[in-house]
């Protein structure tokens, strides 16, 4: 069994796909930092930042609305920011009754709320694009080159490799649970919450032991091929001239965005 849901890379022949992964990681992070730095209500800058995303989409050949379609995932979190609508003083815009209390949306509150959503929405699109045009192993190499400690990148590499194997195991466990939890008509099936939690906990324990044993076998396979405590990797990504130009160009654009946002 194989879960396509975990594959975020979209194979295409585009300039963005070809760029060095370091460049893509750096530009993505700088773009997101820039969003966080833009003041509330910097509408022109927001629009330009959005254009930046759209153009990146087009260059990637994934389609102009590629990241737009996938960008709703951060929306539920917006709930947490909803209070700023009412809490920031300003001109009242709209007053309504909610659970016997009167709430007033202010213009400043609305401004802040919308700004937070836009920042988040732009940022998440860039992050989506990053993994759509970069193979995850290359992303790990980029982190290595960017001085993320080897122990962390190694753990992430193992995690990525065994994510698929483990989730297969989880689904087998869940299927086994479901196939054994048939219900009798007219009767509530399954035990209480405690009992169900215990089953889930047993599955977690089971999975832990299997993982533990697997790590032993992997260790043997590594030792058999010469591993002696130190890991060597070979991930020569070479920065080409166009990589440098692209970085400079993107950073320049983002800088201009910041200037416009502060005018």
């Amino acid at each position: 069994m194989h879960f396509d849901a975990f594959d975020r890379y979209h194979e295409k022949e585009s300039f963005l796909h070809k760029l060095d992964p370091r460049v893509k990681v750096l530009v993505t992070v700088i773009f997101i930092v820039s969003n966080a730095l833009l003041p509330d209500g910097a509408w022109l800058a927001f629009i330009l930042a959005w254009l930046f995303v759209v153009v990146a989409n087009v260059i990637s050949k994934l389609g102009i609305g590629f990241t737009l379609k996938r960008s709703i995932i951060a929306l539920p979190f917006a709930l947490i920011a909803i209070t700023v609508l009412f809490s920031i003083p300003g001109e009242p815009l709209y007053t309504f009754n909610f659970l016997s209390s009167q709430l007033t949306i202010t213009d400043n509150g609305l401004l802040r709320f919308v700004s937070i959503l836009i920042r988040s929405w732009l940022s998440v699109q860039m992050a989506i694009l990053l993994v759509a045009v970069t193979r995850f192993p290359d992303l790990i190499h980029a982190l290595e080159h960017l001085r993320v400690p080897a122990i962390l990148t190694t753990i992430i590499a193992f995690l990525y490799r065994y994510l698929f194997v483990m989730t297969d195991e989880v689904f087998r466990l869940i299927r086994a649970r479901e196939s054994r939890s048939g219900g009798v008509a007219g009767r509530r099936s399954g035990g209480g919450v405690l009992w169900r939690a215990k089953i889930a906990g047993n599955m977690v324990g089971q999975l832990f032991l299997r993982s533990f044993e697997r790590s032993d076998r992997i260790y043997n396979a590594m030792v058999a091929r010469g591993y002696a405590g130190h890991l060597y990797t070979l991930n020569a990504h070479e920065m080409k001239s166009y990589d440098y130009f692209a970085t400079a160009f993107a950073i320049g654009l983002i800088f201009i965005l910041q200037v416009i946002g502060r005018l």
Binding site: A197, N202, V204
Partner: protein, 311 residues
């Protein structure tokens, strides 16, 4: 989303840059220690072990169980990881999981990743391990009880820190976000506690050697008891204060310059602002619950230590 066990994965855009950076600094310093400690103690086997364990935590987060009304219990795993792998390795494993979720699935942002690692990976591990370690030589029942409480409290701590960061960023109103986050996570934490206890009890039965003497779990320094205890205490003290007297906390933050630094669009906070629909009663109920459980836990730990001192 399937992969998100609790609404603790903050997306980019919700934290101000200052708060993001402060969290990154704390996270990086902690990880620096975690890495150097792990490198010192590193058996050759640790690398594949931590890698596979990260995949285990990731996969275990997908195992859910129906609670009621369409909601389901999940595992976050920070406490469990720290208890079975030792605190430093547990932190590294959780960091890898959170980083991959953010990078690959955009489950949590990139620039705010420092905060997410801090909330879900570091604090949870410190509390989980610290409290568990304090009773590590007690009977199985005591260990499981404390582990369950630690798992619950670790989720509460994650929620509290998330709420505080949102508030410092000017994204949420303190007197709403704290009770809301803590209230929701008081329930989610119960799922965490139940699964953690059941999983640990399963491991204790089938492979007692993995948690017994000489295991990574037993090797952690006793200082963790204090670290975990202090963070727990912070959670326990600050939550009632923040919910009951948010203005007080805000005054402290303003006095210390946090608010102005944290919120890039500074605005004055309405004094005495209250939302009646949350009401004093709802707050006090939550508070009473927290205080009650905390008292029980403190007693348990003290009794545990007393018993140990005797033997």
């Amino acid at each position: 989303m399937l992969l998100s066990p609790a609404p603790l994965h903050i997306p980019d855009g919700f934290l101000s840059i200052v708060v993001s950076i402060i969290c990154w600094v704390i996270t990086i310093v902690t990880l620096y220690f975690a890495i150097s400690k792990t490198n010192q103690a590193l058996g050759e086997k640790q690398i594949p072990l931590m890698g596979v364990m990260a995949a285990f935590i990731f996969a275990a987060q997908m195992i859910n169980f129906p609670v009621a009304g369409g909601t389901s219990g999940h595992l976050l795993g920070g406490a469990l990881a720290a208890i079975v792998l030792g605190p430093w390795a547990g932190m590294l494993v959780m960091t890898a999981v959170i980083a991959l979720q953010a990078l690959l699935f955009q489950d949590g942002g990139l620039v705010v990743m420092g905060a997410n690692i801090l909330n879900m990976g570091l604090i949870t591990a410190a509390i989980g391990y610290g409290l568990y370690r304090s009773v590590s030589s007690q009977s199985k029942a005591v260990k499981l009880g404390v582990a369950g409480f630690a798992a619950w409290l670790s989720v509460m701590a994650g929620a509290l820190f998330t709420a505080l960061q949102l508030w410092l960023s000017g994204t949420s109103q303190l007197n709403i976000v704290i009770p809301a986050m803590m209230g929701v996570h008081a329930l989610i934490g119960v799922g965490e506690a139940l699964i953690t206890v059941a999983a640990l009890s399963f491991i204790m039965q089938t492979r007692p050697d993995l948690l017994g003497e000489g295991s990574e779990s037993a090797k952690g320094s006793r200082n963790w008891i204090y670290a975990g205890g202090i963070i727990s205490l912070f959670v326990v003290l600050i939550s009632p204060f923040a919910s009951g007297d948010p203005d007080g906390l805000e005054r402290v933050a303003i006095d210390m310059g946090f608010i102005d630094a944290g919120q890039d669009a500074p605005y004055s906070i309405i004094p005495d602002y209250t939302l009646p629909f949350l009401g004093e009663t709802a707050l006090s109920t939550i508070l009473a619950g927290i205080v009650g459980i905390v008292v029980v836990a403190v007693i348990m730990v003290l009794v545990g230590r007393g018993l140990k001192a005797k033997s």
